[in-house]
Symmetry: C2
Subunit: 408 residues, 2 copies
């Protein structure tokens, strides 16, 4: 008899058939006696269709009106899903963001939820109704429609779960959970039963794009148990993401994230004096280029070497900027490499176990992989290596840390 918030994304409600299948899932769930709030996105393709209409009329549409336009996408889905659920003779009520009283600030297209008045929803749940809420949207204090921006429906679901003090927030996607690493690289990769919020944040930002970072942060802040499940599978357990303390036994490593979207730039022989890091990175940031890993080493003869990574698409631009900077700073040389990959071990277990890093480095050495950069945080170790060793490295690490074996 739990209270569950479920969220279905655009692909899961992308056609009348898929909507019918979500309704069937809801009916099965309701029959077990659980209370159910369902958050839905716009049907896949709908948001792009609406955006194309707007841009055909005006290349710079008014943000307020764009939100009025886009909000119709989820409104269509809540109505259709409610119509589908009613076929099972179950009482159901749909609500737009405004009707669900999801109050946001007025930052059109990237609004933030401020509070949710749950009175009406609790009233419906008490009457045994399934409540269907439009994700991605809210209303500001002037009564204007707002949208939450990327990943907004996940955020709506988590915010509702927090406000309703739900037992669980279930995010249905096209994968059946979070894996120890990408199964396309390591066939033995295993679905994780559970994960800590922080681990999910590290895994998400490093490439395992299952959940929007913002919704994980939100869930963590309000301690909402978050479960990732497949919308195309019956009876899957998915992966539950909770606070660290709730887990019975910590595995050393939860997963291996990686990406090959980055390039590395190094400026050699920079005078080692205060303000140098700022003078190197400021022009890069000024060109709107995001920097990921940053490393500075003291070199010989009072100079220093400074290395950072950027997205591969920004590599040539960053290289030109860095060469200009190099002239101004009288640096010795600028070198770069866009055939690199980053591999990261993630796990809260690292905190209490020494030797993870040295094991990682040993395994890579045995594979004859040269480590070009190292960067560590409390629950993550990242190395930058030559791209051609990526698969072999991940496979070796996955085996060495026993990730294929269930840890509970």
């Amino acid at each position: 008899m739990a209270l569950i918030v479920q969220k279905f994304g655009g692909t899961s409600v992308g056609s009348p058939e898929r909507i019918a299948s979500v309704a069937k899932k809801a009916a099965t769930f309701r029959e077990k006696g659980h209370s159910l709030v369902i958050v839905v996105s716009a049907m896949s393709g709908e948001t792009n269709r609406l955006l194309a209409l707007a841009h055909e009329i005006n290349p710079n549409p008014e943000p307020r009106e764009l939100d009025v336009l886009l909000a119709t996408g989820e409104q269509v889905t809540i109505a259709l899903l409610s119509i589908a659920i009613a076929k099972y003779h179950l009482p159901v009520r749909s609500y737009t963001g405004a009707q669900a009283r999801i109050r946001t600030d007025s930052a059109y297209s990237k609004a933030r939820i401020q509070n949710i008045d749950t009175k009406q929803i609790f009233h419906d749940l008490n009457l045994g109704r399934i409540v269907v809420v439009a994700g991605f949207q809210g209303i500001d204090d002037k009564g204007d429609i707002t949208t939450l921006g990327r990943g907004g429906s996940d955020t709506t679901a988590v915010a509702l779960a927090a406000a309703l003090k739900a037992d669980e927030c279930q995010i249905y996607t096209d994968v059946d959970g979070v894996y120890t690493t990408d199964p396309r690289v390591v066939p033995e990769a295993r679905r994780l039963n559970s994960l800590a919020y922080e681990e999910m944040l590290e895994l998400a930002s490093l490439g395992a794009k299952v959940l929007q970072i913002r919704s994980v942060e939100f869930a963590s802040k309000y301690n909402v148990p978050l479960r990732v499940l497949s919308s195309f599978e019956e009876n899957g357990e998915g992966t539950i993401i909770t606070a660290e303390t709730e887990r019975m036994e910590e595995p050393l490593i939860s997963g291996i994230a990686f990406n090959r979207d980055e390039a590395k730039l190094t400026i050699l022989g920079v005078p080692n004096e205060p303000g140098v890091a700022y003078r190197i990175l400021e022009p890069i940031a000024g060109a709107n280029i995001e920097v990921d890993v940053i490393i500075q080493n003291v070199g010989q003869d009072g100079t220093t070497d400074f290395t950072f990574t950027v997205h591969r698409n920004d590599y040539q631009r960053a290289l030109r900027i860095l060469k200009d900077t190099s002239v101004q700073l009288k640096a010795r040389e600028v070198i770069g490499d866009d055939n690199i990959a980053k591999v990261s071990l993630v796990g809260v277990g690292m905190r209490s176990h020494a030797g993870i890093a040295s094991t990682m480095f040993r395994i890579l050495a045995e594979e004859k992989v040269n480590i070009q950069m190292i960067s560590t945080s409390e629950i993550k170790i990242s190395v930058v290596i030559d791209e051609k060793y990526l698969e072999a490295s991940i496979q070796a690490l996955h085996t060495a840390f026993n990730l294929a074996k269930p840890t509970g």
Copy 2:
């Protein structure tokens, strides 16, 4: 410096190009210093697309949810039109029915407007903003989205004009006004500059389908001047529909309406006793057949003849029912004719001028047209004739009553 409410239907906003052209019209209008509230329908085809989606999921969609679904159609249009208007650097605000505080009862799919809180709209108009409102929709006192049913956008426009005490409510359509009769039948048919509400009601119900009856009734009740205009024409004057008293000079006849959708049925030699009309029409009504003209004549030998017209599609069904009734009532005979047409002269001038009917009958006699039925009201005379004389009769009447000559 007038306050004008304009309404554009689905065809007028059916594509990004058409929406751009409505925006241009609005900009021109605003530049003249007028205050402007624009009511729009869903883009043509959109409502049917949404209905098809709903029916694919559930042949009997929940009325509440169907309204949530359909209301998105106009919401898309208000956003797109506002985005188009903003291109002219004019301040603009869109409102859904709920945001415009159009309060209705809870009769989903055929809700009736109860009141409109105009505070926000007046506030916007005072700031020089163009206000764009979704037609066809409102909100009930529980906060549920409702739709107004057929012709709902016209009703929204008239209701807003009444609530705002607008100087005029302009209904843009694909014709440039109301004509003395159908120009396809009488090429000399002339656009009327002005018309009384009652005349429009008679002309509309008799076949000149330009405006929804409900919105004309509404305009009449609140005395809102209503103007019919073409959305595809610049600087057209259209036809203004007002209370009778506001017109300087009454023409005898405003227009000639007609239809050929009806069939005539007669039951002869019915005993002339109380309750006979009821016993004849009750089974017809019970079969959901609508009756238009009804005439009863006293016959010879204490019996009576009873004639009525129905839609031609219902003719065979009505004939079978009437034959059954005839047996029960011991009537002499049942006869019918589905090659008939109805011609109606409409004009408030009739009230104060005798002899209109006799002129009409003389003209038809000169054309050798036999009149089969006559029915009159205060501002209308209808005759039923053989369908083959329809065009000739209308042309002769149009000429005889000088309808081609402007009357002001």
